[in-house]
């Protein structure tokens, strides 16, 4: 059969209705193409330009396969369809090569059409739609689904009637129930667990009435009867009418964390009482010995007891520091801000350190900005910061050295600077300065007294006060520490304990 007349016939049909074709081709946003029996383009609508960059003429005479991404040109499927082996309409999704060399994801609907003259299927009408946006949305959704499916947190979706529609695989590990066992059930028991009515009321009030996310800690029972604690956030997802279209709950099992926390609190209690009792007994009996309450002591006896006493005081200090660290780490320290003048606070610390300052003949230089306003900070906590930094400066500076304290106000923050002319910190240890129990290699031998916890505590206090702390040092020359506190002050925080001074 001679191909030319058929092609011509179709082209004539097209040419006989140029206005119609032009109308459709020019206005239809998707691409319209017609392929002959060899799959060459014999017609291409102007959309080829807007979608792929080609002028329609540039496509004519070319096989459609030239524009397929090589990975999509699956020999069996694609060419079979295009060979009209299977009669009827078919759809394909593939990447179409653009003029600029890039590819666009497209979806094409393909209609084999009969030659109007011969009455047999020869041509293919292909309607190609650019689905780049839809594809990238689909890819995103796939990624999200994968994230949810593989998450170790337990993720549940319920519809507006509170019926579970989806539960991710982590459900089994956390609740003991397989997803199919909870899908279709009311989500209330899952999300409010064994909490009381007040809790349930507040949860559904926040979610369903206020339509805001709800965060809470929930105790529940696993399928095997064991209890677990979840930290949960449930968010209502609203439709365009602002009605709740569904709820998404993401929960983390914190049973272990709660247990560790409880153990920490118990330990604090233990240390507090059990360790301190014998330390107190030693302190008081030595006090009585030194006061002569049970007879006079020889000079040597006195010296020995004074040494024991000093060791005892060091242990008391260590227990205090450990307890403070433990409390800070378990978040139990309360922050009680009151308007405080930092200069006055520093003065009380200097008074406390007077004996040591005189003993080491340290030259103290104090310069405090005259226009320092009172700021809302917890004086017990910040006093601890000054005490640690100043006593360190004095301790690690040789006799006759200098320690400076400057407090300045830059309009936004109050910056405190404490400098000394002491042993300094080796550069190789800079990264360890705020670590627990860290003591400088160069000073631990010279000055045996020190817990190594002071700076750890100072950093924790400053950071929980929204401030910053930094330092610089040179071995043999001295060290300077700076810390900032916002003029706006610090928010109050409820807690159970305060710091031991």
């Amino acid at each position: 059969m001679d191909a030319a007349p058929q092609t011509e016939a179709v082209v004539n049909v097209l040419n006989d209705n140029p206005a119609l074709l032009k109308l459709i081709g020019n206005y239809y946003r998707d691409f319209i193409g017609i392929l002959d029996k060899d799959n060459n383009f014999i017609y291409a609508s102007p959309a080829s330009h807007t979608l792929f960059g080609y002028k329609p003429d540039e496509l004519i005479g070319h096989k459609i396969f030239e524009y397929f991404h090589k990975d999509d040109l699956n020999e069996l499927k694609v060419t079979k369809e295009f060979q009209r082996a299977v009669p009827g309409y078919f759809t394909l999704s593939y990447r179409f090569l653009r003029l600029d060399g890039g590819y666009s994801w497209v979806e094409s609907e393909n209609f084999p059409i009969k030659d109007p003259v011969l009455g047999t299927g020869q041509f293919i009408l292909t309607l190609i739609k650019d689905i780049t946006d839809r594809k990238s949305s689909e890819e995103m959704v796939k990624k999200f689904v994968q994230a949810v499916e593989t998450a170790s947190d337990f993720i549940v979706m319920a519809n507006g009637d509170r019926i579970v529609m989806y539960a991710n695989p982590a459900t089994k590990a956390i609740t003991g129930f397989e997803p199919p066992e909870i899908i279709g059930k009311d989500v209330s028991t899952l999300w409010s667990g064994e909490m009381d009515e007040k809790f349930k009321e507040e949860m559904w009030n926040t979610l369903g009435v206020k339509k805001k996310p709800f965060r809470g800690e929930i105790i529940n029972t696993k399928k095997d009867g064991s209890k677990y604690v979840l930290e949960t956030q449930i968010s209502p997802i609203l439709d365009e009418k602002d009605d709740v279209s569904f709820y998404v709950g993401i929960s983390r099992d914190i049973t272990k964390a709660k247990e560790v926390d409880r153990m920490k609190t118990e330990f604090i209690s233990l240390a507090s009482h059990q360790l301190r009792t014998p330390l107190t007994a030693m302190k008081w009996y030595m006090e009585m010995l030194l006061d002569g309450d049970v007879g006079d002591l020889s000079q040597e006896q006195r010296e020995y007891i004074v040494s024991i006493n000093q060791s005892n005081e060091r242990m008391i200090e260590l227990v205090n520091a450990l307890l403070n660290v433990s409390r800070i780490e378990s978040g139990r320290i309360m922050v009680d801000p009151i308007p405080t003048h930092l200069g006055d606070l520093v003065q009380t610390v200097l008074d406390e350190l007077q004996v040591k300052i005189k003993e080491k003949e340290i030259n103290m230089v104090v310069s405090i900005n005259g226009h320092l306003p009172k700021i809302n900070i917890d004086p017990k906590l910040i006093r601890n910061v000054y005490l640690n930094l100043l006593s360190n400066a004095i301790k690690y500076t040789p006799r006759g050295g200098e320690v400076d304290i400057f407090i300045s106000n830059n309009g936004k923050e109050v910056i405190s600077q404490i400098s000394d002319s002491g042993y300094g910190i080796p550069k190789s240890e800079f990264h360890r300065v705020f670590e627990k129990f860290y003591r400088g290699e160069n000073v631990a031998k010279v000055e045996t007294d020190g817990t190594g916890l002071g700076l750890y505590l100072v950093k924790a206090i400053i950071e929980s006060s929204n401030g910053k702390i930094w330092f610089d040092s040179e071995e043999g020359k001295g060290t300077t520490f700076w810390f900032s506190l916002d003029l706006k002050g610090v928010k109050a925080k409820a807690g159970e304990v305060t710091i031991t001074p």
Partner: protein, 131 residues
């Protein structure tokens, strides 16, 4: 033995070693003392003593009742609640301290932080000057 002229302090402390030291020091400072090693014993003594103590030195962590329960019992009694209570404990919990002060304790000392003399100074200042 009690001397009517000397002020009497009732000491409630379950650690015998500490109790002894406290007694010795208080006696040296001119106080008479009565010792109890449990909360219940303290309440019994309060009921049966010929004269009320001038002050009570109370530890928080006792073997039977805790300091709060003893304080609450003292506060409830019209006869006892005029006796000033000084809490000397090894627990620095702010919450505990505030609770005790709220129930009427006059002062709160952390044992390991103070020499005996310092604590007794605090008690004497209160008993002599009301502060």
């Amino acid at each position: 033995m009690t001397d009517d002229k000397k002020p009497l302090i009732m000491i409630v402390e379950d650690e015998i070693m500490l109790l002894n030291a406290i007694c010795i020091k208080l006696n040296k400072r001119g106080y008479d003392t009565v010792s109890c090693t449990s909360g219940r014993q303290a309440l019994d003594y309060l009921k049966s003593l010929p004269k009320l103590p001038n002050g009570i030195w109370l530890d928080y962590q006792l073997r039977d009742l805790n300091g709060l329960e003893v304080m609450a019992a003292i506060k409830e009694s019209e006869y006892w609640n005029s006796v000033p209570v000084f809490v000397v404990s090894n627990s620095a919990s702010q919450e505990k301290m505030l609770n005790m002060l709220a129930l009427g304790a006059k002062k709160y000392f952390l044992k390991a932080e103070h020499k005996l003399d310092e604590i007794i100074d605090g008690i004497s200042t209160y008993l002599n000057n009301g502060i």
